[in-house]
Symmetry: C2
Subunit: 192 residues, 2 copies
Amino acid sequence: MTAQPQDVRQQILHEATRLFVDRGYHGLSMREIAEAVGVSKAGLYYHFKDKEDLFLAILTNNLERLEQTIQQARQAAAVRGQVELFVTEIFQWAPEQRAIIRLASQEMDHLSQHSVTEFTRLYHAKFISQIQAMLAAGIEHGELRAMDPVVATWLLLGMMYPYLYSSHAGEMNTSTEAVQLMLSIFFDGAAT
Amino acid sequence: MTAQPQDVRQQILHEATRLFVDRGYHGLSMREIAEAVGVSKAGLYYHFKDKEDLFLAILTNNLERLEQTIQQARQAAAVRGQVELFVTEIFQWAPEQRAIIRLASQEMDHLSQHSVTEFTRLYHAKFISQIQAMLAAGIEHGELRAMDPVVATWLLLGMMYPYLYSSHAGEMNTSTEAVQLMLSIFFDGAAT
DNA sequence: CCTACCGATCGGTAGG
DNA sequence: CCTACCGATCGGTAGG
């Protein structure tokens, strides 16, 4: 049985995701990706124009999954239910999938000017502005206090950040308790 | 007037800090640091054993400043005042100084096993466990609800994370309003 | 601290 | 002409 082209491309994306998450953009060579997949380095360049193209394909794949997750979450009635659905779903992703969310913002500066501009635009349209809209609607409906939805979005996403390191996956629990504490602090606060 | 050795070492630390923050550990070469400082590449190796030694010197410098900031903040009476002092002070640091806090956790995996173990130990002793103790005391005194202080610490630090990117410094305000919203969400919640 | 280099490895590409 | 690669090597640069 011969391996089909799509299998190889998917296999490259799968292995490279894991490796980029662990080592960062510049910490990983095309050579190492090729060895991990079991193809030649030239084989990678058949499927992807260059290293940046491969990296962006990983980010874009993740961004589309992220968008779908937000769309599903927004079907909940109240904003608290929407955020809870969103966070719960993200925390159920495999650690290396979750970590791509961090990787995107973390390694953005290491790409070419054009890629940064283009991806940042997509990233805001499909992800950041969706969260902002969720929170803004909550403010408008009186479910949340009057506040800057842009700042509130960064604070909410920031709370998820420590859980977006796959190397921390062992020492931190992303169990229901951690998610619930995050939600109860964001909505109700830590004070008595 | 000849440049003194200590000036050069300080100049290297200053320039390298800015460059590491912008480009990450593997995104920056010793050659580039040397050019930015105006010394030869070999000159860097006079002051620092290797690239990792230079990088760790930057992190360690920052860690000591961070410890002092926490010590000062803990002089406030209530835990809310302590956290407010701490966050306010950090947000007054120069963007590239603030960003080292992120750099430490972000690039930790790219160092040698021994360095990671040693620095992680220091990082927890001087920083993470201090914040944990602050929050644990707040829980014990009834100022904060009963909760896991370890998770609470990561959530608090996470809220600061989006403001630890020096490249975001332009698009985000670290003004009093942002700090106040962060504190009011952490202590009182975003809900009405 | 410099000039002059090294073994190896980098991202990327040639012809077949 | 196509696809899915390979072995070998390019010009430059990495840390030391």
